[in-house]
């Protein structure tokens, strides 16, 4: 079968201009041309003939991939990797410099919810306007109108100008219009990062329906790995404008997450004497003291933080923030729980954090370690340290098949059962 999207050799070049600001004024151009007509002509001529090269920057280079009908493809990568540029090219907002893309079917792009919403117009009017901007016909919008209103839950405020809406209502209405686009291909950029958790879930569910039931094709950019994992079968990892990896979502996400720090259990950081203090080393240690990032679920382990204090720091605290998958903060804990925080004299320190067994369920986690004076100064922070909890030696896996209802928290609860009759 022919792929629904075929991307061949796409590249996008931007010229970096060294002018002040993002635009130049006509006045300046005219003044320069009149003051120094010869130099102006010379520079122009050079630019035209290509003798003088402007500084160039390839936001995307040699992008190749194809997508089949009904697939949901995730696009991940660091900020500036070219994700949004790729989506902008796919949605024809900006043309590529090289290459070719062939797409079959109606294309809808959702780079932002509520594009073109006008605060003075009512909810009803904005539904029609926004729908039209997103490429729906008036007939389509009219036939979907009731569903849109119901999904957004704004029936009572339909004839109120949206400037009086709460931000939650606004976002709900905006997403709802977008969610009812009947396009064969949907290009979506991080729009789920809006609204409250409840609504985000509803949106994600809606997007799942769209691909699974209606057989539509979705390209989905997100920083939320959980959402990508839930929705997308395949994922593309972009790095510095090129495709770094493309394949099954789980593989690509694992690769991406590991790539931040590798799977090193002992991480060394530069000592920066300019700062009041630096975190020098973070180690993940198994119960027997051997460093490892693979921790069996039923074993306790330790996180050891070595840091140096250069100048005395007052009333400070060491914190750990533990994240699962994407952005879900699972746990935050500090070295001091009471109000009496500790003052640190210059010198080297070592802190050991005891992590109990059966705290985390199977899966991959990240944590940040920060040294801070609460409410005022962040002395130092190290982010995205990788950790994996494995099934090894888990008594539970002898009862159940692997992966059976593994929660993010794996505390063993005490069940007390009495026979009462």
């Amino acid at each position: 079968m022919e792929p629904i999207i075929k991307v061949k050799n796409i590249g996008k070049k931007y010229k970096i201009t060294h002018e002040r600001g993002s635009y130049i004024s006509l006045r300046d151009v005219i003044t320069i041309a009149f003051k120094n007509p010869f130099r102006f002509a010379k520079t122009k001529a050079r630019q035209v003939t290509g003798f003088e090269k402007k500084e160039e920057f390839w936001a995307l280079k040699d992008i190749d991939f194809s997508v089949n009908k009904g697939e949901a493809i995730g696009i991940i990568g660091r900020n500036g990797a070219g994700k949004s540029t790729l989506l902008k090219i796919l949605s024809q907002i900006t043309p590529p410099t090289t290459g070719e893309i062939v797409m079959h079917g109606r294309i809808g792009s959702l780079l932002e919810v509520g594009t073109g919403f006008h605060p003075e117009l009512t909810g009803r009017e904005n539904i029609f306007l926004n729908g039209a901007i997103l490429g729906m016909t008036r007939k389509e919008i009219a036939s979907k109108f009731d569903q849109i209103v119901e999904f957004a839950d704004v029936v009572k405020f339909l004839d109120t100008p949206v400037k009086y809406y709460s931000s939650g209502m606004y976002v709900r209405l905006a997403f709802s219009v977008a969610a009812h686009m009947e396009h064969d291909i949907l290009l979506v950029d991080e729009v789920l990062a809006v609204g409250d958790t409840e609504f985000q879930k509803k949106c994600l569910g809606k997007m799942e329906d769209v691909t699974k039931e209606n057989g539509r094709t979705i390209l989905f950019i997100s920083h939320n790995m959980d959402a990508i994992q839930k929705l997308c079968s395949r994922t593309i990892l972009l790095e510095k404008g090129s495709v770094m990896k493309i394949g099954p979502t789980k593989e690509v996400i694992d690769y991406y997450l590991n790539a931040s720090h590798g799977q090193n259990a002992v991480l060394e950081f530069l000592n920066n004497p300019q700062k009041a203090s630096s975190i020098r080393r973070i180690s993940i240690l198994r119960n027997d003291g051997t460093p490892s990032t693979q921790i069996p679920v039923s074993e306790p382990f330790k996180v050891k933080v070595d840091f140096t204090v250069h100048g005395p720091i007052k009333r400070s605290v060491l914190s750990m923030f533990l994240y699962s998958g994407g952005e879900l903060l699972l746990l935050a804990s500090e070295s001091d729980q009471t109000k009496n925080l500790r003052d640190y004299e210059p010198g080297d320190y070592s802190t050991t954090i005891d992590m109990p067994a059966h705290l985390l369920g199977l899966g991959t986690y990240f944590f940040h370690i920060s040294l801070q004076q609460p409410k005022s100064i962040a002395h130092d922070i190290q982010k995205d340290i990788y950790l994996e909890i494995t099934d090894k030696g888990n008594p539970r896996s002898e009862i159940f098949p692997p992966g059976y209802y593994t929660g993010k928290i794996s505390s063993i609860l005490n069940f007390k059962t009495d026979k009462i009759n």
């Binding site: 931007y14 993002s22 635009y23 130049i24 004024s25 006509l26 006045r27 151009v29 902008k88 090219i89 796919l90 949605s91 024809q92 907002i93 900006t94 043309p95 590529p96 410099t97 090289t98 290459g99 070719e100 893309i101 062939v102 797409m103 079959h104 079917g105 109606r106 294309i107 792009s109 780079l111 932002e112 594009t115 073109g116 006008h118 003075e120 117009l121 009017e125 029609f128 306007l129 039209a132 901007i133 997103l134 490429g135 016909t137 008036r138 064969d184």
Partner: protein, 273 residues
């Protein structure tokens, strides 16, 4: 399905662009609808605004140029003479200034959604049509008051005059809109340029005062339009077809330049707007 989109590094123009504008005609309608809705919603006097503006200008001009300065008006009462000119002139000038900012003020949409960009300036001009029609009610009233009956042939020529004005506004607007994206000081220069343009267009004076050089004025397409309108509605002179042809040619050239420049720069709008 059935639709295939091919994205390539952009050429300046292809015939597909024309077909595409037709496909997006509903969006054109919605942008126009939005602009009208907002304009008349935000002002308490709403629709009346479209009348107040030309009428008050007409009154001021009649007092100063007509009564005090005794400006010649080809033997027609000055109020109706100047109002005919103002009607077309204000359509043109308002359309020009509205279109020139149409891309900038819709930057949020341009950078997020694809549609043929030309829709925005075109809808800016269409919006002005509505004001034009509202304001022309006053002209009809004035014609009744002063007892002018237009010739039938004169009425038939009005659509042609409107087409010329429309093309002149779109052509100039497209050009201004695209340079405005790149050079943001255009919007400061424009009101001043429009002011000057008004004085080289026979709005407040008859073209006849230019004597034998009046053909020079004809290069300005609005000269042909305003002269034509006065001839048709007030019977000042027979329709000067040669003059209209010059106007039409000038407008065609203006439109071509505007359209070409717009298409040439269109691809960068989303990157620099």
């Amino acid at each position: 399905m059935g639709i295939t989109t091919v994205i390539r590094p952009k050429k300046t123009f292809s015939w597909n662009d024309i077909r595409e504008i037709w496909q997006y005609r509903e969006l054109l309608y919605f942008f126009t609808w939005r602009d009208l809705k907002i304009r008349y919603k935000q002002t308490t006097i709403g629709v009346l605004w479209a009348i107040i503006q030309p009428v008050s200008t007409m009154v001021v001009f009649s007092v100063f140029f007509g009564s005090l300065a005794k400006m010649p008006s080809d033997g027609i009462p000055y109020p109706i003479f100047v109002y005919t000119g103002l009607l077309f002139w204000q359509f043109f000038s308002a359309a020009l200034s509205q279109t020139s900012s149409s891309l900038i003020s819709n930057a949020a949409i341009i950078t997020k959604v694809y549609f043929p960009r030309i829709i925005l300036p075109v809808s800016g001009v269409i919006t002005q049509f509505v004001d034009f029609f509202i304001a022309s009610i006053v002209l009809i009233a004035l014609m009744f008051y002063y007892g002018y009956v237009p010739h039938l042939s004169g009425l038939l020529i009005l659509p042609l005059l409107l087409i010329i004005t429309f093309l002149a506004s779109v052509g100039g607007g497209l050009f201004l809109a695209s340079i405005n994206v790149k050079y943001r000081d255009v919007k400061y220069a424009l009101p001043f340029v429009i002011q000057i343009l008004m004085f080289i267009t026979p709005v407040i004076y008859p073209a006849s005062i230019a004597g034998k050089y009046s053909w020079l004025l004809a290069i300005n397409p609005m000269t042909g339009v305003i002269k034509g309108a006065r001839g048709a509605l007030l019977g000042t002179e027979p329709i000067n077809w040669a003059l209209l042809l010059i106007s039409f040619t000038a407008v065609f050239i203006l439109f071509s330049i505007g359209f070409y420049y717009f298409k040439k720069t269109e691809r960068y709008f989303a990157d620099i707007v």
